[in-house]
């Protein structure tokens, strides 16, 4: 059960990375980041079967931070949309050297 959970976690994390790299819609990039966070949560819960409850406490804290991150990130996306009238991440290159 533990190694299967870690396997699924690795696959889900990889899918999230591919989503971040291939999509241009900022909302979907952001959802891919959420998917990666979920994959990490899965491995934390799986390893908490072995090493005690600290992993589950950490998952609860990760969910808190994910909620905060989602709120701030979506506010930034709304601000970007007001500026560019699109959420294409290729528009966001103001800091490029």
């Amino acid at each position: 059960m533990l190694s299967e959970a870690l396997f699924f976690s690795a696959v889900l994390f990889t899918i999230g990375v591919i989503g971040v790299l291939t999509r241009r819609n900022a909302l979907i990039v952001f959802m891919s980041v959420e998917l990666m966070m979920n994959a990490v949560n899965l491995s934390l819960v799986a390893l908490s079967m072995l090493h005690g409850l600290g992993g589950q406490v950490f998952v609860v804290l990760v969910m808190t931070v994910a909620a905060a991150e989602a709120v701030v990130g979506l506010a930034i996306i709304i601000a970007v949309f007001r500026h560019f009238r699109s959420v294409d991440v290729q528009n966001i290159n103001l800091l490029r050297g």
Partner: protein, 169 residues
Amino acid sequence: MTLFYQFHFYVFGLFAVASALLFVTRRSPIAAALWLVNVMISLAALYVMMGAHFVGAVQVIIYAGAIMVVFLFVVMLLNLGHADAIADVRGKGWRLGAGAVGLALLALLLVAVRQRMPAVTVDARPVNAVAPLAESLYRDYVLAFEAASLVLLAAIVAAVVLAKRSART
């Protein structure tokens, strides 16, 4: 671990992976968000099967319920138009690079998790799974718990400041 339990663990795990694949390949943000909800609910089932009942419930309520609803709300608020009209996927070079990076990362992670894991047993009967977690959270990790409340407060303030339409424009 009974065979029944093992079988359903595989079913929900494969369901999560399949939903994730559908999630990254959908063009419409709404469809992608709904498939992501599917992933999260499957993961909640995995959590419950691994004995983390509270985390499974929180996963459904917070992630699949609250966070994804906020995502859907923003998707509908922005009203991006028809999905096919937007060139959403990056070019061929990006896709090949992403595939290479994904394969390399998957190989790395699978090598890392391939080592023999000790067999763990989870009590399939309903147990009081919340009390030990609460004890750990409010005793050993109480500082992190309070810090999380500060993070939430800062996020609320930041969201209001960022999303507020400024008076000048």
